[in-house]
């Protein structure tokens, strides 16, 4: 295992939303800060820095991860997906994002990135979730604006839509 020196910066390289990125970080730098302030990927938000609010949730090597509980140096060589990687293109929203907009499932939008990441990750392997499953999944995210129910509605609607479009694809 590489031993990092506390007072020097170390090079960190990984794949961010399919593109390779590189920066320098002190061993103590959090991944959330690295993403935001070194790479300018400010879509991942920081709400508590103790793993309770879920705003900074991202996907690291296929695992849902709190960026605020991860050191930048830990993800050297990893594949990382953040909210910036969700939309199919800069001017179009994905199915899940559209469902959020249609159902008023966000207000200030600060917690939204983390919730989208959890849902995107979950729906990929659970195409037909129940409301209880969605509520359970999202119980690790705090939202102070919406009262949550529009988020649940949007998630279920997106799941149905994703399932039916997959159905169409496989029928075709």
């Amino acid at each position: 295992m590489t031993r990092l020196k506390a007072d020097s910066r170390h090079s960190v390289r990984f794949s961010l939303n399919g593109k390779s990125v590189e920066g320098e970080a002190e061993p103590r730098m959090l991944l959330s800060d690295f993403l935001r302030h070194q790479l300018g990927a400010t879509g991942t938000h920081v709400g508590c820095e103790h793993g309770a609010c879920g705003a900074c949730t991202i996907v690291v090597d296929g695992m849902l991860t709190r960026a605020c509980l991860t050191l930048a140096a830990q993800v050297d060589g990893c594949e990382i997906k953040t909210v910036e990687g969700l939309a199919p293109s800069a001017d179009r929203l994905g199915v899940l994002q559209q469902a959020f907009r249609r159902n008023h499932a966000l207000q200030c939008g600060f917690c939204t990135a983390g919730i989208l990441m959890s849902l995107d990750h979950y729906l990929a392997s659970n195409p037909a979730p129940t409301e209880a499953e969605i509520r359970d999944l999202l119980s690790g995210h705090l939202c102070r604006c919406t009262g949550y129910t529009p988020i649940i509605t949007a998630a279920l609607e997106a799941a149905a839509k994703l399932a039916s479009s997959k159905q169409e694809t496989s029928d075709a």
Partner: protein, 1002 residues
């Protein structure tokens, strides 16, 4: 219309040719927020060379600062400045205090700290981590004083006094009398009374505070970017504190803000602090608050002790109210406090027709975080007392609570209705609203359910609440805290100036600018609807900017996002501004189309003749004319490039000579009822159904209105069931993380059944009233009434956590049996930690004794120890860095040995302090031969811990203590040359623990 509104509320409504206002269109804000392109304050770049600040905060609730040693911090590479109270005082002046008293209010402690978390020093460095490193090197010497956290306790004789200018901690006292309450009470057949303690809580936005400030020494002018929410009356407070005229404080807000709910009003003392730091450092300074700072020391709603009595007729009609309110504003009376107490002053009779009212209002200071704006602002505290009392009246008279509510509701024909205390309720039909809610919300079904549940022995209850929701505050209501004579001297204050600017550019596209400072509500979308309707355009044609720049934009002291003023005041003002521009455009078009102005209509992107729609001209062409050819405009048209409208409602007059105050412009009506079931075993409260009827006047965007209701409901549910900013008796803050301050999550929040009725306000341009705060007022007491009904108890205190209900139902918990575990469990609120234990170490007692007294050995075996200094043979100092849970920091420990009995026993006494906490401990260690060339150590300790570390839950603390002791023994055993970990205890395991935990940070 209501039906359409409800149907469209849950999805989008984009098509057709109906007016845009009243429809749930997609929000223009959402695409960026959903794809990570929001522009919150910490997402924006800063000028090269910008420095970063961190704040060292008090671990004590009340203490004198004897000395602050910043030398080591200043020497750390990268540190540009360290400011203490003295340095801040040199460049600023005290914040104004809202009552007449010789009291100062600084954003940083001067020579005394008065609450846990109060700023003591600001460190400015090249990056945040370095600033935090430096903050750990600051040594502050405190002399603790007695603390008081209870509002009634603060008034008791002999209570510690926080400010000499507030004798006995009383910051303000006023009594009021409306009608003839004494006679009403004397004549009434019944009198009911209730004592209430409303707790502290906060709406805690997920984005914390942020400030970026710079100072131009040449012009002595400040530029500040902050996620401040208003009211901009605070701009005057900040400018005054920074000792510059208003035109030398340029305050801007970022495009996006991550929620506020009132809370981000409280960033203003930090604006002063960071601006002062920027001035001292000579460079721009940025500060982003962290969550632990936010919970401990940002701002809180007020807690309040209330006694409310009612004179009541036999049929349940309330004849008079007698209020006695003691408002707890925390350690400093910060602007605009004591506004929480007076915001509701016109509405102290709620939704009821009550002619006689007596009020005694006292404001006290205690050793807790200063208070400020929070969603509901005064409403939760008032309605909890009033609506609990209504239920008690019903029970006392053997009536149905709903019948008592109905008997007292203001008559539908009485609007506009002047309340006894001066509010002018604009419109409503409360009877109709209640009857619709009862029918549509299926109350009968809920009652049958209750009967059935109770027959099965289950705990099921139903609660009711009727609430008037005030919105659009009168900027003069706070002056009700002054006497009429004082007001005459100070000059009148009143009104609620709203502003809106509509601009047309050279290609005729429309821009709207307002000073409403949204924090996620979707103002840009609603304004695009409002203005699109006026110009016959589509919302997508209207670009709305809601950033504010006080150097360039139209604003007033009333600007900002508070008191639910957007829909009623700001959106209406935008409509008026657009109509003024449209009126001029109509004159231009009339001359071009050769028709009368009255024949002009704006529709589908054209300005046309009503009689002959073919006779038309493109909107953009008319709109651009003022740029390209002002000479061809009709003489009376004026310019159409930019129009700023100011609007203030004439109804908002100052308090009159008899202290009557129309504290708010609009008054929505809410009627809630709910069924709850309480688990007999766990005493967990489960909401079976929650019905909430709202009449907020004309609905501008049904999806957003329902979003406000749901959001308010969820926060109120948190306040009712989970959330409390809890303090120990000595002022230690106990809920310092989101693992201790519990916010409701997806698994706790059900969907409320929302019912609407629309009685437009006659006082606002669009007929809209505020809607954002109502459930924070109605829901906590509605749930409490239901729980009281389920348990059959008279006194209920929030939050309704199972432990509290258990005390109500089963009586207080008996003390645990003596003996038992080595480490006694730490109870919340009891920050003592006691324990005892044994350990085995290789080596005879003489050897172990020597090791325990040797600084070099100790330094190598104490976890996190940087250095140990031997002051005398029996006096040690150590620097220790420890982390417990999310809280880590450096502590300085000071330990003295006494009752030495070498090599058999020693006692030690010590204390430790650090940025994150402090503690004291005593312990005794005995060493005895184990019969196998080893030593058996027996130890016991008794410690007390305070400060930020104390805000971490007992379990974490306890666990961390064991780990540290274990690490110590392991290291000691290794050092002693023993293979087997056995351990000795050391003076210093105790020290490590004392230092680390007690002492330091826990």
């Amino acid at each position: 219309m209501v039906q359409a509104a409800v149907q469209s509320a849950n999805s989008v409504d984009q098509g057709g040719e109906r007016p845009w206002v009243g429809r749930s269109i997609e929000r223009v804000e959402d695409a960026a927020l959903l794809s990570g392109r929001g522009r919150f304050i910490d997402d924006l770049g800063v000028a090269p060379g910008t420095l970063h600040a961190t704040i060292l905060r008090s671990p004590h609730a009340h203490a004198d600062i004897l000395s602050i040693d910043t030398e080591a911090a200043k020497r750390l590479p990268g540190v540009a400045a360290v400011l203490t109270g003295e340095d801040v005082k040199a460049v600023t002046t005290t914040l104004v205090v809202g009552v007449k008293a010789p009291v100062e209010c600084w954003p940083i402690a001067m020579d005394r700290v008065r609450y846990v978390g109060e700023p003591v020093a600001v460190v400015v460095a090249t990056d945040r981590a370095r600033a935090e490193d430096a903050a750990e090197l600051i040594n502050v010497e405190y002399r603790p004083r007695g603390a008081v956290v209870d509002p009634l306790g603060a008034l008791a004789s002999g209570a510690p006094v926080l400010h000499d200018g507030f004798p006995g901690n009383l910051a303000s006292e006023r009594t009021f009398r409306y009608g003839d309450p004494e006679k009403a009470f004397a004549d009434a057949p019944h009198r009911f009374s209730i004592d209430i303690r409303y707790p502290r809580n906060s709406c805690t936005p997920i984005e914390t505070y942020g400030v970026v400030a710079s100072h131009d020494a040449g012009e002595d002018a400040y530029e500040v970017l902050a996620n401040f929410q208003g009211p901009f009356s605070i701009h005057t407070v900040i400018a005054r504190a920074l000792k510059v005229p208003g035109n030398r404080l340029r305050l801007r807000t970022p495009p996006d803000s991550g929620g506020s709910f009132g809370v981000k009003q409280g960033v203003f003392p930090y604006i002063v602090l960071i601006a002062a730091a920027a001035r001292v450092a000579g460079r721009p300074v940025k500060w982003i608050e962290d969550r632990l700072e936010h919970l401990a020391a940002s701002v809180s709603a007020t807690n309040r002790a209330t006694t409310l009595a009612a004179a009541v007729a036999a049929d349940g009609k309330i004849l008079a109210l007698d209020w006695d309110q003691v408002e707890d504003c925390g350690a400093h009376l910060r602007a605009p406090e004591p506004a929480t107490l007076y915001r509701m002053h016109g509405n102290m009779t709620g939704a009821y027709d009550i002619g006689h009212v007596k009020i005694r209002n006292r404001v006290v200071v205690t050793n807790k975080t200063p208070t400020g704006l929070n969603r509901g602002f005064g409403g939760p505290q008032v309605y909890f007392a009033l609506e609990r009392l209504v239920q008690r009246i019903a029970i006392g008279l053997g009536l149905d609570p709903l019948d008592v509510i109905k008997r007292n509701l203001i008559d539908a024909g009485a609007f506009p209705y002047r309340t006894a205390t001066g509010a002018l309720l604009d419109s409503g039909n409360y009877q109709e609203a209640v009857s619709r809610a009862v029918a549509q919300g299926r109350l009968a079904e809920l009652k049958a359910k209750r009967d059935e549940a109770r027959a099965q022995g289950r705990l099921y209850g139903i609660g009711f609440t009727a609430v008037v929701e005030p919105s659009v505050s009168n900027m003069g209501y706070i002056t009700t805290v002054l006497t009429a004579a004082e007001r005459r001297k100070a000059g009148p204050k009143n009104g609620a100036q709203a502003t809106a600017t509509v601009g047309l550019d050279p290609v005729g596209s429309v821009t709207v600018h307002v000073a409403s400072v949204p924090q996620g509500q979707g103002h840009r979308t609603v304004l695009s609807q409002v203005v699109a309707d006026v110009f016959g355009l589509q919302p997508k044609d209207i670009r709305v900017n809601t950033e504010i720049d006080t150097a360039k934009d139209a604003w007033s002291i009333a600007s900002g996002n508070y008191a639910s003023r957007f829909a009623a005041a700001v959106a209406g003002t935008a409509k008026l501004a657009a109509e003024r521009v449209a009126g001029r455009l109509a004159r231009i078009a009339a001359s071009q189309l050769n028709v009368e102005v009255v024949d002009i209509v704006f529709a589908k992107g054209f300005v046309a003749s009503k009689h002959n729609p073919e006779n038309r001209i493109a909107f953009s062409r008319v709109a651009a004319l003022s740029h390209w050819s002002p000479g061809s405009l009709p003489d009376d048209a004026g310019q159409t490039i930019r129009e700023t409208m100011f609007w203030t409602p004439p109804e908002l007059t100052p308090p009159d000579e008899d202290d009557r105050i129309n504290s708010s412009l609009c008054h929505g009506f809410i009627f809630d009822f709910c069924g709850v079931e309480i688990d007999r075993v766990t005493l967990e409260t489960r909401i079976d159904r929650y019905v909430t009827m709202h009449d907020c006047g004309t609905i501008l965007h049904p999806g957003m209105v329902n979003g406000q209701i749901r959001g308010g409901f969820a926060q109120a549910l948190g306040a009712a069931l989970y959330e409390e900013y809890a303090y120990a008796e000595d002022g230690s803050f106990l809920t310092g993380t989101l693992a201790d301050y519990l916010l409701p999550t997806t698994t706790e929040v059900p969907e409320p059944e929302i019912i609407h009725m629309e009685t437009p306000s006659p006082f606002t341009p669009l007929g809209a009233k505020g809607v954002g705060e109502g459930n924070c007022m109605s829901t906590p007491v509605c749930l409490a009434n239901a729980v009281a009904d389920a348990l059959g108890v008279a006194d209920i205190t929030l939050p309704l956590v199972p432990a509290r209900l258990a005390e109500l139902v089963r009586g207080a918990e008996p003390p645990p049996p003596a003996g038992g575990a080595a480490v006694a469990p730490v109870r919340e609120g009891d920050r003592r930690l006691r324990g005892e234990g044994q350990a085995l170490v290789k080596g005879v007692p003489e050897q172990v004794w020597a090791m325990l007294l040797d600084p070099a050995t100790l330094q190598s075996v104490i976890p996190g120890c940087q250095r140990v200094d031997k002051i005398t043979d029996t006096h040690f100092r150590a620097d220790v860095t420890l982390g417990i849970g999310p809280v880590s920091g450096r502590y300085r420990a000071d330990v003295e040995l006494f009752d030495l009995d070498p090599p058999r026993a020693v006692s030690l006494r010590g204390g430790a302090t650090g940025a994150l906490g402090f503690g004291n401990a005593e312990g005794r260690i005995t060493l005895a031969p184990d019969g196998k060339d080893g030593t058996k150590l027996t130890y016991s300790y008794d410690a007390a811990i305070g400060g930020k570390v104390a805000s971490i839950g007992g379990r974490l603390l306890d666990g961390a203590t064991r780990v540290i002791i274990d690490q110590f023994f392991t290291a000691l055993a290794r050092k002693a040359g023993g293979g087997a970990p056995g351990g000795g205890f050391s003076l210093f395991a105790l020290l490590a623990k004392v230092a680390g935990l007690f002492g330091g940070r826990r």
